[in-house]
């Protein structure tokens, strides 16, 4: 709150004093409403659903609508717990789930790193370009981001498939005589993640590199540092905030990715998102799908939320 400035006239001060109680009354209810309405929306459509997912994960599948048994039975008004943690035990026993989880983290981390390698030079080039050209280059990065990602994945499928452009060109050039199997491989998944998420990496990198002071680079060169040394000791460390932001923007959605491994990946090494989907649709085992969802929440999302809030806490302290 701002303090009254010295030298302010008595009239204004008394006006303020007179206006204050009335404002607080109106502000109080208005404030409650302004916080309360979005709060209730998020409670109903975001938090409560996870409570329901948790309850369903304690049940077991059965032939009914909806296809699971409730975790609680009601004797009159009194709820009696009849669920079990069996689904979670099951997740730890069958190594399909662990493999899918670790595989997802591995693929997402690898693809994020590759994405960073591809994006950094692009962001650098945009940041160093003339203003007019810079806008054009930025537009070239944003355009694919606003185009449907599914259509872009389809475009890549057209290149990678057996009779696709890459195989046709390679056979025509005589490099190979049999088409290479590229679809349904980890290679295709990595390439597609890099291709799909590239704009999300370039944009935060660009915004930190754009603010980078060119004088620092000149100073480093004047002091006799080689281009490579300047890059390693000045440019790269200064672009760290953009690197962190870009990596989070790519890694987080990539871990839970469903469409890319489904269309491009091998059937025998699904990512965790596909496992959840498969349990839900093919096996119609909603309780196990729910348990996978809770496990993803506990092992992927909550660590990230804590990670995100910790620097903020340190800043406030």
């Amino acid at each position: 709150m701002s303090e009254p400035v010295e030298g302010i006239t008595d009239v204004t001060v008394s006006d303020m004093a007179g206006a204050k109680p009335r404002r607080r009354l109106g502000g109080g209810w208005g404030k409650r409403l302004v916080i309360g309405v979005p709060f209730l929306w998020l409670l109903l459509f975001f938090l409560i659903p996870f409570g329901i997912v948790f309850l369903v994960s304690l049940g077991s599948p059965q032939f009914s609508v909806p296809p699971y048994s409730a975790a609680f039975e009601f004797d009159g008004w009194w709820p009696r717990f009849v669920g079990s943690l069996g689904n979670y035990v099951f997740l730890t026993e069958d190594d399909l789930y662990w493999r899918a989880y670790l595989g997802s983290v591995k693929i997402a981390a690898g693809a994020t790193f590759l994405c960073l390698l591809v994006a950094w030079p692009m962001a650098w080039m945009i940041a160093r370009a003339e203003p007019a050209r810079r806008n054009l280059l930025l537009m070239l990065v944003i355009l694919p981001f606003w185009t449907s990602s599914l259509l872009r994945i389809y475009a890549l499928m057209g290149m990678l498939r057996q009779g696709g452009i890459i195989n046709s060109v390679l056979i025509w050039a005589g490099v190979i005589d049999q088409p290479i199997q590229m679809m349904q491989t980890d290679f295709a998944v990595y390439l597609t993640i890099v291709f799909t998420y590239l704009p999300l990496m370039v944009l935060p990198l660009y915004s930190t590199l754009e603010k980078l002071d060119g004088a620092l680079l000149e100073a480093s060169a004047d002091l006799g540092a080689s281009k490579f040394a300047t890059f390693c000791t000045v440019t790269l460390p200064l672009s760290a905030p953009g690197i962190v932001a870009g990596c989070l923007l790519v890694f987080i959605p990539a871990v839970g990715e469903f469409v890319i491994p489904d269309l491009m990946g091998a059937q025998d090494s699904p990512m965790i998102g596909n496992v959840l989907w498969g349990e839900f649709t093919r096996n119609r085992d909603w309780p196990v799908a729910s348990a996978v969802a809770i496990a993803m929440l506990a092992l992927l999302v909550i660590p990230f939320m804590l990670l995100r809030s910790s620097p903020a806490l340190r800043e406030e302290a």
Partner: protein, 266 residues
């Protein structure tokens, strides 16, 4: 060296799109065979009722959910950056930002289970429809809008709002008269972001859509899974053209506004 790598990166972004555009004019059904120029896939697309219906559904969902999401998201962003501490603030902040980091499959499953439970208990919403997709998309859209608004408000001098308050203006009047005009560009870009995210979403919509409310990505996905369908190339070309024209027009408008602002300052 860096330059060369950068150009390779741009090539990675654009070569697949260029090939998609070229092949959308391929007369041949086979992807690997060039059968001469033709617009037959565009004609076929235009007569495909499933695709057209889905496009209408997608646009309806995107406009409605982006509008609801932007209204709520703007308020959330404002509350988070201007209201200081209040009870349950930590919970509020967590709920407002968590949808961004939530895997799509988890969001989709949780909302579907919510809608089923609500229907069992209260009889509403009756089945899954456009309404349930709108609710789902609005919920994650508002999280993104809130972030955009918060960033804009962080860079905007609080003292103007404080001056207005000291002069006795009521909070609503301050918001409408000062804050909203300042954050208007962020509100617009937030809406566009929520709109695109809604149009792009396949996974969440697949969970919470019902009979007769298939969105465009759902229809494309089922076509793509079945194999090569050249009319998807035509659809992709149309989308690229619309986004391209929209971007160029948008950039022009922004550049003009910028120039006008500069003239005003001189």
């Amino acid at each position: 060296m860096l330059r060369f790598l950068a150009i390779l990166g741009f090539a990675l972004l654009y070569v697949p799109l260029a090939i998609l555009v070229i092949y959308s004019f391929n007369a041949s059904q086979l992807v690997s065979v060039w059968g001469g120029w033709s617009t037959r896939w565009y004609v076929e697309l235009w007569s495909n009722e499933a695709v057209l219906d889905a496009a209408v559904v997608s646009l309806q969902v995107a406009v409605l959910s982006a509008t609801v999401g932007t209204a709520f998201g703007t308020v959330i962003g404002y509350v988070l950056s201007r209201f200081g501490g209040f009870r349950l603030r930590i919970l509020f902040t967590a709920m407002a930002t968590a949808p961004i980091v939530m895997p799509e499959v988890v969001t989709g499953l949780s909302l579907l289970l919510l809608f089923i439970t609500m229907e069992q208990w209260f009889g509403w919403p009756e089945g899954r429809s456009i309404l349930t997709i709108v609710i789902a998309h609005a919920t994650f859209g508002m999280a993104f809008v809130a972030v955009v608004i918060q960033a804009r408000l962080a860079g905007f001098d609080k003292s103007i709002e404080e001056a207005a308050r000291d002069l006795g203006a009521r909070p609503l009047r301050i918001f409408v008269g000062i804050t909203l005009p300042v954050i208007a560009p962020a509100v617009i870009s937030g809406w566009l972001l929520a709109f695109t995210l809604s149009l792009d979403d396949l996974v969440i919509a697949s969970f919470v859509s019902g009979q007769g409310s298939s969105t465009l990505p759902m229809v494309i996905y089922s076509k793509v899974r079945l194999g090569v369908s050249p009319d998807v190339n035509a659809l992709g070309t149309i989308v690229i053209a619309i986004v391209g024209v929209g971007l160029v027009v948008g950039m022009q408008i922004m550049r003009r506004a910028e120039a006008r602002r500069k003239r005003g300052q001189d």
